[in-house]
Structures are given as C-alpha cells and as structure tokens.
Symmetry: C2
C-alpha cells in the first residue's frame, strides 16, 4: 500500500511538458510590444534585431575643438617654417562635434594653432582670429570622426534575443531608433494553498506554517523577467482551489499552484488540474522536489472551461527548497522561451567535495554547496539536504547535480558546480570548521564589513582539527581539554596535526554549565543532578569540546555515564541542546549561557574553558585572513563579544603557542 | 597657450572627492528605511544584520505524512514480529508539518504502516485507523524536523551590507520578520547640457547630436541601486545651467552634469560649480574621460546657496564612452557607500591581447576588449578606442586597464581583464577575422538564435590569414584572387598558412563594382573612369581582397595607379567606402552592392568574385562551430542572403579544398 506516485525521470517530465506547450504554440515568444526607449527598457528582450537606421555620426564631425583646414594647404608647415591660414577660406573654427564644412578634410586641434588678428599679432579671442599659424602639417582626416565611425546605416546593432543593458540603450538611440520591439512580460499567478498556512508577520501558534513560498517564487520569476502576482492563501478545499485556479487562468499566462503539506493537499492540486484541463506529470524523480505536478488548464478568458485556450500550470511542492528548485528547473526554461532569450545557464566550475554525498540512484539529485579556496584547492562543502532548510538556499554558492543512475560522490572527489555566486566572492571566503561558538556569528557580521565571507561549519573540536589536517579549512575553533595536563588544545594539535605548523590563538574564555527550563522546575544545582532518574539529559556529540569537558568532570567526580538518562542522545551545537530543552525533549544539557538566553532558559554555571582558534602558519600572513586578524585584535569586536553573558575576551588574539 | 587643464592622476582625484565627502558625512549610508518584506525588496541592501527572531521550525514538526509514535514502543518490531500500536495512546496521525504531540518522539511514514480497524482488519481510511501495525523499529527523532532545524532564534540570518536575493526573502520571513531595514535609494539628477543636443527621435540636421547620454547614465545608476531622474536638455547658457543645478541640488543626493561638447560648455560647468559650491577636480588623467569635473554644491533644500548642506556633483564628459567610464569610476563607489554595500568588483581573468595597445604614459588607460577562446588560449581583442564609439561599449566583454606609467601592451602579452560578461558567454564566441562582408551581420543574427556569439573583425583578407596563422581566430573570410591562376584563396593559404591543415569552404559569390553618388552625376561607367582627373577615388586598404581585385584588373587593363586621385586614401570596409562617397569625400570606390544600397548610392557592377571561409581543420568538428555549419548549410540563412542584391549562394557550404 502506497500513497506515493511513481516518479518519472526529470528529462522525461521536461520533454512531456515542453512538447505539450509546443503543440499549442506556447513554446515560443508569447507576444511582442513596441516600447519607448527609456531607462526602464533595461532587462527587456529584443524580439527582432536592431539594424542601424542612421549612421553615427551622421556627418563628418570634428573630434576636437579646433580649426577645419584643407590638409593639402598644410603641407610643408614646420616649427621653423610655419604656414598662415586665413579664416573662412582656409580655416574655420569648430567645436567638438561640429560638422566639417564642405571641402575641408582635416581638423587641427586649437592647442596646436596660434590665433592671429588682422595684423598677424596675437588675437584676442582664440576662437575668432583673422587667421591661424600652424607649425606642422596634418594628414587628411586627422581629428575628424568620419560619417559612420560608430555605426553605418543598415549595420546590425544588436541581435534578436538580446537582453538590453544600459549601454545598449545608447547604441539603439544613436542608430536612429526611439522605440524598440521587445517581448511582452509573461504574467505568472502564484497561488499558495494550505489550511495550515498563515501570512508573514502573523502571531504563530504551534502547527502554523508561515507562507513565504509565494514571496520567494514571485521574486524568482520577476528576476527571470516575468511579472508575478501573489494570490492570497487558499484553504485546502477542492472547490475553492478550482475557483482560484480558474480566476488565475483567466488573466495569467502561467499558474504556480503551491501545494500545502497537509494530507490531500497534493491530491486537491492534481484533481483540480484534471478537472480543469490535463494532468501531464505527477511526481518527478528529482531530489528535492518529488511531488512536482505539471499540467495545463483549458480555460477561456471569461473563465469558461474546456476551451482551446491553454494555460500551463505547475504544482510546486510545499517545502521551500523543493519549491525554489522546481521554479529553477521547470519554470525558468518556459519564461526564457516566452521572452525569446536563451535559458539561464549558470557558470560552471570544478571543485572538490568536502563530504561524501549519498544520492538515491533513481533521482537527479540537486545538492547545494558552499565554496571556498583552501590551500589552492577549490572546495565545495555540501549544505544541509533538508527540503525544509531555507538557510541552505541563502548560504548556497552553487548546485552540484548528481545525475540519475549515480549513487553519490565520495569525499574529496571533483564535482561540477553550477555557480550562483561569482568566483571573486568565493575567493573571499574564510572557511572555519570545528566547534560551535555563538560569537562566530558576530565574527561573520564583522568580517562582512571587511569584504570577507566567514563560513563556519559545526563539526565539533576534533572534527575541526581533522579538517585542518585534510586542508579543508583555513582555521578551526577548538576547546579540547587535555584530561592529563588540564591544558586546552595543545596536546590534541600535536596528536592530530603532526608536521603541520600551527599557531594556536586565544579567542574567548567562556562559561560552561547546565541549561535548564525557565524557573529550573527540577531544581538542578550541580553536575551530579544529571544522574537523577527524574532528569532527562541531552548530550553533545563525541569529539566535541563540550563532550570532552563533560566526560573529564564526570570522571573526576566518579560519575558513571551509564546511569545518565539520555547520555547517548546527541546534538551538534549549543543551540541544539538549548532547543531540545526548550521543547521538552530533555530537561538539561551542558552548554554555554548565550545559547540558554537565546531560547529563554535558565543557566547554572559550572566551569570555565578556553575556546581557541587553530590557524595553520601558512595563513598567518595571508591577504585572505588579514581582516580576520584585524577584527579579533580590534576593540570593537571585543566589546561586542564581552557584551554577551559568560564571555571573557581578555586574551583574545594572544598567541598561545606555535606548534610544529 | 593651452585651453586644456592640467589633469591630475586618477587615484588622487578619487581620494580628493572621497575625503571631501567623508568630511561632510557623505561617505557612509545616506539613510535607512524600514520596508515591508515583499518581492520588490530584491536588490535592496540590509543596513543591519538580520538575527532570527523565532526558530524555524518553531516546534518539532513531522517531516512526512505518518504516525507519531514513542520510539521505545517500536523496539523489537520486525517483518516477522510486527507490533501493533493503538491510536491516541501509542500512535497519532500527522500530516507533514504537523506538530509532534507531547511525549511522542518519532514519526513512522504512512507507507511503512498498515492501518487496522477495531477488529485488526484493514482499515477503510488509512489516515483514521483504530491501530497501526509496524514491522520495523524506529530511532528517536526519525522523520521529525526538530525545532530550529533551519534557524534557531538569535542566529545570524544575513549580515548588514547584504544585497537581498529572492531566497533571502524567504529566510527573513521564516526567521520571524515581516519588515526589514534597508538603505534608502540615493536620488541622482542627470542634467544634459549642450546647445547642439536634440532629444532621441528628433529629425536630424547636420550638426545635431542625439542626446542619449542621459539615458545610459540613468540606466547605469539605476542598475547600481540608485534612482535616477533625467532632466530635459539645458542650453549652453551659464545662468540656465546654474538655475538647473540649484533645482537639482534641492531634491537630489547627487548631480551628474553632462557637459555638451561645444566651446565653453565645460567652462560653464566648472564655473557653475565654483559659483554654487566648491570645484575640487577639473581634469583627470584617465583615458577616455579627461575632462571630468568633481565638486560639491552647497545648497539648502529651498535652493539657498552657501549652506552647510552639500550635494556632490560630477561633471561628466560629453563623449559617450568617456561618460559611461566616468560613472563606473567615480559614481559607482559613491552609490555603493551610500547604499552600504561593497563597491562593484568585476570578476577578473587573464587573457592574451591580440593587438598592441599604445597608451599615453601619463594616463590610466581603460581599453575595452572583446573576448573568446581560440585553441585553448583566452584572447582579448581591443575594440575601437574612440571616445565617441558607443558600439565599443555594446561589444565589450571586459575592460583592460593599462596603469599610469606604462606605455601600453605588446601584442600577444597577457593582460588582466575586468569582465562584464560571464566566462560561459565568452566560451560561446566564434572569432571570425578577415575580410568584411555584409552578410556576416546576418550570420551573427542567425547564430545568436543558436547560442553562439559571432564576432567579426575586419582586417582584410590577408590580415585574416595572418590571424589564423597566429591562432587568433576560429575562421577567416577571404576573397584573395591569385593573379596568375585566376583562382581564389588557395595559393594565398598555401603561402601564408604552411603546415596548418585548412578547409576552404565556399560562402558567397558576389558582385564587385563601383559605387557612385545617386544618379551617377560624373557618369562613371567602367573601371577606366577612375583615371579621370575630375574623379576622386577612395581605395580599400592594402591586403584586402577588394584591393587585390582592383590591382589585378588595373594591371590587366594596363592602368597606372599613380594617375588615380585618392588611390593612397584607404578605408577598411565596404561601408566605409560607401560612407566616403555618400559624404562627398570621394566620388567612387570599388565595393559590393549591399554597401551602396545601405547608403543610397548607385552601383556599377564590374566583376564577380568568390568570398570563401578559411577554417582550420581542428574546428571542423568542434562543438563551438557546429551551429555555424548548421546555419550556412541550412535553407533559411541562404534565403536571407540571396534576398540581398548582388549575392549568389549556390555554392554556400561546399568544400572547395582541404589544404595542408
């Protein structure tokens, strides 16, 4: 028993859709319009080539302020044997751009002439002399912009399909056009549906889902050159969805029906399309995005059903990452066709993937990555794969596509990245990997002001050291306590990074303690309380500095980990621990006060620890990290960190040790 | 005696301007505004970081349609030993996105359950069973999107200075914001001045200059994120210019005063600025663009002069290429500052220059180039250097900057190109160099539909062969007549391209003849007429096929070149010849009928010739040239060429010979 549909391969889905649209004449420019050439013409697409109507310049023009002359009359002029040319018959003053008078064939720039009055003395007005003295001959056509220097009438100025840029407007005007024929903008209706949806800005109850997909979809299709209109939210009701779809079909060229996630929402969409037109595809083997629906509504402009007029409709999945990808894959090519421009092709680049990608072999798998250059290697780090994780769209520098038939990509392997961001932005990326600390967000904000993008991945302190060993990061944050010496990080660096010269730099000293629910209902006071049977603990993952700290103190206090309820349940960040407690999933966990405050929890401080930065020597004097050192050694950033509870910045920037 | 000002170095000019603006607080964000988050927010710049106000999801949510369970109750479930879970106490149906009920800790997807009725038979409604049977255990938190999976409250969503993209809007909404604080858009007044200027679309008289600079400038500053307003044309009148400047200063943040080219226009600008504020810089050592003026207007919002309120003003030169560059160099950094975003940095790439660049050593020299990849070498071909040649802006893929102090770049040397276009567009460029034929424009238009950019440079037939020898082009157009054999091109290819395997492909057979003024006032009938004393001839350049053809027939007819008036005056294209005749610069010249018709001349056909394409073998089967061969072998293109007068396309696409 399955409620899921059989997904068809992506290419087949695309072909089915485009073939259907081609049959009804909707796989070409939708329509054209003649527009007045003005600054709003930028971004419009030419539907016919622009041929020069006039030449530019449309006459021989002086290229300088100076005097028109007959070049033959200047032959023999030299510094010692100047020639005098009489105004009117042999020389005429011209401003730049003035037409060359008939019979004249060159211009001498004013600064190369001497203006004379009728007695051959220096003239008063250098532009109105009686004659001029010249001390050099000029070649024919010197300092003249000949007719058609820029364009000659009938020449191609711009081809059809060209997207207008600012400079193009000048060229079109210069070639004699005041109007230009462009494709009309496709009108796209965006219909969010779902009973659980609430508008942006609503007071949220548990179970409410903010409806922001329509906002992203509208912005996406506008950026593609179409004109989007967002409809208000439609409840999950078949009749209402049909009515709204008809309303949209009357006035729009394309409908994006963004299904809610509740049971049957998808069925409502597909049934509505079947009722009002033709359901072409239901389910595409693409990850993320499976429940894509493609179809056509057969609806007249008065809303009558069953007409020859066809309006394509795309059932867009509810998860934001799936929704955005559906628009990129299925909607962009249609809009490109309708506008008469080439479909968008992202620039591609090869990079090494930093973590294994596992892909379902039946799907085309779209994996968003963040990129940076470490040690001359271009790296692509896969972002969260969750279809609901919109932050992965925000962080993404590019898209890796693992094609149907492949099961993934091994760590370290080269992949092709379709890039959203320019390489120059990628080159400004500082990769920080390792333990999580909330001040890294502040650091990221501070570095943005200095043209550096600070990307931190949270894999725990040991994970960070291993990334440095693999040359996968520029620096790592670490707070690993050596249980023998009581010292932080040094022993671990020696163990994990042999032979790699490292500078260990102090960042913050911070409190660690137990987060508990507001008001501390279980009256947790000390570490030993996590052994209580009525206390559910939530742990950090193995390898994290907080876990090492916990295990160190449990051992020192002789407390057995087996007796701790939840010791094996792991979270990966301080905020993850706080969220688990806030939601009731656990009663307490070890972490830092900033995380407790963020989620309105109480905090019982137990220890302090040093959180250091591990920087390979090769980056100490790098241009890339220069602003980073400036920031951590500056007063402004230190002040913003010490304003947070539980942080001490006295040692920030201090070199703890040079190791190896 | 010089009317020219002393130019100061570019960096000094920029620093003078930015220092002055900094002193009066105009080197920072101009102002901020809180805007409602909607699709029009795209492109706005954040002036403060966005921190998550809520977590997303803001509760533990089911990631699938399925049943919430207690994971502990599923332990031991196996295909052979299923476990039955009673609805309500042990299992609850959830739609995707529904909150996980208190006490439950995992979700089993509906397709992994069997729905049972009260008698343990298959239930009617799979979403409303009495109990469910499961045949596998689930781990805690399976198929649950934990609170904060995407964002946790207080996390950084986006840094200040970020330019909003479609996806960002979703992330901001998801993190609990309905509004966002952004910089206000700077208001830029664009004042075209010049008595010779006429609006776009005007009927042109000799000496009229179309005023399109304001259009380009407005589109440029709008694209930078500002809001431009174009003022109507102001005559060259000091009082009027002052009044207009005051009018602009009242309501705008920045004034671009686009000077006319007539005498004194520049003086009016600088004097107006001196009168109304402070003239900071007059003349910058940058090419093109020397007569740049930088200053400030001290004017209150009611138009009173001499206030503390300062409005920066840029005197933009009149030539379109200089004007556009002035905005790129001086205006963009100010707008970036005012918006709180980083200044634009074009992506850079290294390429080899195809022709020597000669630069004035005192200037920063900005050279526009067109780019392509030939034979794995990335090439940058300099475009026309004329400050009035707006087509160079349209064609440009990038900008090469030869810094002050350097005298240029030798041909073949590597240069750094600041790129306007993406590398993927550059990679689609077909470089065709050699003889000019008007059908190349048609070819360019046809190839644009097939995602190829066809860039043709006109250097004459021999120049084209030399470019092929240097591996500077993918193909060359050639019509070189061998005077011994009467055959076209083959002998020349053998001579100029030894050892390079070449395929010679027929393109067009075309008429060549004498172009004369409409009505043929001098009654020119045959080649011999160009010997007449009353006939002024205009010649094509040495190495061009037309020149070879001319010289061949002159020799055959025993005509002496010395007796031809204008034999030494050269033009580089057929249209150049036509323009020279049209303007009266010459009476006749040899060329093709299409050029004559373009400029409304009469044409006396004398010879026919074969215009071939010279393609190195290595490109015959290249992906790049595939659409090129498709087009020249297709019917559509042949039809469009044969519709032109004087062309025969019978042989088009035929292989004439494989040589070497």
């Amino acid at each position: 028993m399955s409620v899921y549909l059989k997904d068809i391969p992506l290419e087949q889905a695309k072909t089915t859709f485009s073939d259907t649209l081609r049959e009804v004449g909707l796989w070409d420019v939708l329509g054209t319009e003649m527009i007045l050439l003005d600054e709003n013409s930028v971004g419009r697409v030419l539907t016919e080539p622009v041929w020069a109507k006039i030449s530019s310049p449309h006459y021989h023009a002086s290229a300088m302020d100076g005097f028109a002359v007959h070049s033959t009359e200047t032959i023999g002029a030299q510094p010692s044997t100047p020639i005098i040319l009489k105004i009117d018959s042999s020389a005429r003053y011209l401003d730049t751009g003035d037409p060359l008078p008939d019979g004249f064939d060159a211009v001498i720039p004013i600064e190369n002439t001497e203006a004379l009055d009728s007695k051959n003395n220096q003239a008063q007005d250098i532009r109105k002399p009686a004659s001029i003295r010249v001390r050099a001959s000029v070649a024919p056509w010197s300092h003249v912009r000949p007719l058609g220097e820029d364009f000659i009438a009938t020449q191609l100025v711009l081809p059809a399909g060209h997207i207008l840029r600012p400079f193009d407007l000048g060229a079109i005007a210069a070639s004699g056009h005041a109007t230009v024929r462009v494709s009309r903008k496709p009108k796209v209706a965006i219909l969010p549906t779902g009973s659980e949806l609430v508008p942006i800005g609503s007071e949220l109850k548990i179970g409410d889902i903010l409806e922001y997909n329509s906002l992203v979809l509208a912005a996406q299709v506008n950026a593609m050159g179409a004109e989007a209109k967002r409809f208000s939210i439609t409840r999950d009701n078949f009749e209402e969805i049909c009515l709204r779809t008809i309303e949209a079909a009357k006035d729009f060229d394309l409908i994006l029906l963004n299904a809610g996630s509740s049971a049957g929402a998808e069925d409502f969409s597909s049934r509505a399309i079947e009722q009002l037109g033709q359901l072409l595809v239901h389910g595409v083997a693409v990850r993320p995005g499976h429940p894509v629906i493609l179809g056509t509504i057969h609806c007249g402009q008065n809303g009558e059903i069953g007409t020859d007029r066809v309006v394509p409709i795309v059932g867009v999945p509810g998860y934001p990452v799936s929704a955005a990808l559906t628009v990129e894959i299925f909607v962009e090519p249609i809009i490109a066709r309708w506008l008469g421009r080439p479909a968008l092709e992202l620039p591609i680049v090869r990079a090494n993937i930093t973590r294994k990608i596992v892909s379902p072999p039946g799907d085309d798998d779209y994996v968003r990555v963040v990129m940076g250059r470490v040690d001359d290697k271009l790296l692509a780090a896969p972002l969260s794969r969750g279809a609901g994780v919109i932050s992965s769209l925000v962080k993404a520098d590019g898209l890796v596509i693992v094609p149907r038939g492949e099961q993934g990509v091994e760590s370290g392997q080269p992949v092709t990245v379709n890039m959203y961001r320019s390489m120059s932005e990628v080159e400004k990326t500082i990769f920080c990997i390792g333990s999580h600390d909330m001040t890294l967000d502040l650091l990221s904000q501070s570095l943005a002001k200095h043209k550096r993008r600070f990307v931190s991945s949270n894999v725990g302190s040991q994970g960070g050291l291993l990334a440095i060993a693999r040359h996968d990061a520029h620096l790592a944050g670490s707070h690993l306590l050596d249980s023998e010496t009581g010292e932080f990080n040094v022993a671990y660096i020696q163990q994990y990074l042999p032979g790699i010269p490292i500078r260990l730099i102090a960042f913050v000293r911070r409190d660690q303690g137990l987060m508990v629910k507001k008001g501390n209902p279980l009256k947790i006071k000390q570490l030993g309380d996590i052994m209580r049977k009525d206390v559910k603990f939530i742990n950090r993952q193995r390898g994290s500095g907080t876990r090492v700290l916990l295990d160190y103190h449990l051992k020192q206090d002789g407390l057995a980990t087996e007796s701790i309820r939840g010791y094996d349940e792991e979270e990966y960040t301080h905020l993850g621990i706080a969220a688990a407690i806030s939601s009731g999933r656990a009663d307490t966990g070890l972490g830092i006060p900033a995380a407790a405050i963020a989620l309105d929890l109480d905090f019982i401080p137990l220890f302090t620890e040093r959180y250091d930065l591990v920087v390979p020597h090769q980056y100490i004097n790098s241009v890339l990290l220069e602003p980073f050192f400036d920031v951590i050694n500056g007063v402004e950033f230190k002040n913003s960190v010490s304003a947070l509870p539980g942080y001490d910045v006295v040692e920030m920037g201090k070199v703890i040790a040079d190791i190896n």
